[in-house]
Symmetry: C2
Subunit: 160 residues, 2 copies
DNA sequence: GATGTCTTACTCGGATAGCCGGTGTCCGAGTATGGGCGG
DNA sequence: CCGCCCATACTCGGACACCGGCTATCCGAGTAAGACATC
């Protein structure tokens, strides 16, 4: 079970955009060179974040991406679901009903949800709850002091 | 992010073996027809559970698979890690160090773990803790009454 | 009847192929900025 | 000086190729139980 790289990209991009503030949008190419990522593929992931409302995109010249909400209202769950989708990692295919093992059971029992799926879902809910409890602002607060200044300085040197 | 089907298979197989008790091992082919699964591929997953000590395999005639431990000591975490591996779903590739964005930071900062990775890891630990807190015995207790008897009867009719 | 051997049934492990989704790239369409041109 | 038009820069969305991992299958080797033959 592996999560796509896009989640790491998206989180770091959100964090960087939060450091810079949204005085000016940041184009895809700049974020790509910032983290040394393939520009076209990164753009696909950022567009997914826009569709979820996490980021906002301003088209045209001097355009680019900026935060769609203040950092306190962007949870890690928002970023993960925007990029990875809303499906659970564990998907119950109802194998309990298939084959000869399922033939012996009454149809009434299958109206109740599968116990295995319920147990797995409980664990995923704990995961989601933890992700929903942390925001981009929390990431900023946990970063070492001076990170905001250094980010802005480095960005100014790049764009200058 | 999707989890392999093998986890669902393994959990249901463990549950079925727990219902039947370990008076006699169950061969792969019987479990495959029980759930209507491809026998050779199912065998691969069961072998992974054997390597983890969750199941025990008895070779030779009248051989098959049985539980390696009592159901109270088999957690869902054991089954998941045996089949899916021990790697975290989120893997930090340290993109914070790459590109021009990382160039401006001091090398000393990178000795501290990445804040994004730490946050994601916290959520995965909650997931793992929840999985480790539920055992196969708990699944048996949560099942509707009479499931054990029906499983044994259906199995006896199959093998008879 | 006891012992050794043979057949059978099953697991084990590796090799191999197909397939799906994530990864990565490219191109055309749409849009806003800024400069240039004409009135 | 004002207004219109165009070039530019960027996003958006889709189409396409590539690759790794999951899915799936097959086969030979090893092992234990039961049947059989032999003494």
């Amino acid at each position: 079970m592996r999560m796509g790289e896009g989640v790491e990209w998206g989180l770091h991009c959100c964090l960087t955009l939060a450091w810079l503030g949204d005085d000016r949008p940041v184009p895809t190419a700049r974020l790509a060179t910032w983290f040394d990522l393939p520009p076209a593929y990164l753009a696909k992931r950022l567009q997914a974040l826009v569709r979820a409302g996490v980021l906002a995109s301003t088209p045209g010249a001097r355009g680019g991406f900026s935060l769609g909400r203040p950092p306190e209202r962007i949870t890690l769950m928002d970023v993960v679901t925007a990029i990875e989708g809303t499906d659970d990692a564990f998907r119950c295919t109802e194998i309990r009903q298939r084959g000869e093992g399922g033939g012996g059971a009454l149809a009434r029992e299958f109206q109740r949800p599968c116990g295995v799926a319920t147990a797995m879902r409980r664990a995923e809910l704990a995961w989601r709850r933890e992700l929903a409890g942390q925001t981009v602002a929390d990431l900023m607060a946990a970063a070492p002091p001076g990170a905001a200044d250094r980010t802005r300085r480095t960005y100014a040197r790049m764009t200058g």
